[in-house]
Amino acid sequence: MLRRGKDRASVLVNFDVDRSAVEAARRDPRAFEALYRKYVAQVYNLALYELRNPHAAEDLTAQVFLRALDALPSFREQSEPPGSSFRVWLFQICRNALSNERRRVRRHPESPLELALDVQSTDDVAAEALQREQLDRAWQQISRLPTDRRQALVLRFVEEMSTREIGEVLGRSEGATRVLIHRALQAVARQIGRGSDAPRH
């Protein structure tokens, strides 16, 4: 959002990357498609990691974008650029939809996300097997993490969001989010067989 009273340089720096697309979509809802194309895979990713079912993830993705399109007139930039407050807002909608979905289903999905355990093939079979085993254990640990920690890891590593953006999605401060992610990483480290306090070899 433009800040009145700030100098020109700060106005130039503080520019939401999606502002022009959001404004275009506000003027004409049909322009929303540009934002949809940009973020559909990201929303789908979080939904798939959380629900672990491609069809459920597609349903949730559709809900998120239809809600976002409906609610776009009420969207206001809130986060501090650089970045996209639209993306943060979209993921807040996604998190709400996921919460509703969990309440509806009343149980945590148990089916493993097999696709997520695919590791990149390498020439070194032994190394690949080790990596697969480590990832398997890491994924098991991630699955058991509390929702906020699990979502924070997915947003950080899969969506490549900054800690500040993740904090805005989760409704936490940047510092608290950093500690949240660190604790999640410690848990994963313990799971893959190397505690965070293990001496370095």
Partner: protein
């Protein structure tokens, strides 16, 4: 000795940033960069977890069929919203069509199937009754 939790979290965060940014520039550069290991020297386990997650967690993409179907839904929705805005100034959500399955076919509506089956049953019963009455006459 382990660093303070906040410091450790800051170091881990910086390491993740370095990996993510580095991979966008040059994947090989970051993995070969031993300098980034320095700050996380006390946290070898966390560093390994970061590397594992950064390298291995896959990114998925929805199917082309789904993406295009949802784009069409949004276009329709946006079109209706535009019309409503111009006519009454109020946006009314519309019903969403069923989305295609992976094979491209649309899911059958159970209510429609049951309704059709009842209608067929009534028709057959009517025809049978008509034939029976004609045969008696």
């Amino acid at each position: 000795m382990l660093p303070d939790t906040d410091d450790a979290a800051v170091q881990a965060d910086a390491y993740i940033d370095a990996l993510l940014t580095g991979h966008r520039r040059s994947p090989a550069a970051v993995l070969a960069d031993s300098a980034t290991e320095g700050p996380l020297g006390h946290q070898a386990g966390v560093r390994d977890a970061i590397r594992l997650l950064e390298k291995s967690l896959p990114r998925f993409h929805p199917s082309f069929l789904f993406e295009e179907w949802l784009a069409e839904q949004l276009r329709r929705h946006a079109g209706r919203a535009s019309e409503h805005e111009h006519s009454s100034g109020k946006i009314i959500p519309i019903a969403v069509m069923r989305r295609p399955t992976a094979s491209g076919s649309r899911l059958p509506d159970k209510r429609l199937l049951v309704g059709s089956a009842i209608a067929s049953g009534v028709s057959i019963a009517g025809a049978a009754m008509f034939a029976w009455r004609r045969s008696r006459n």
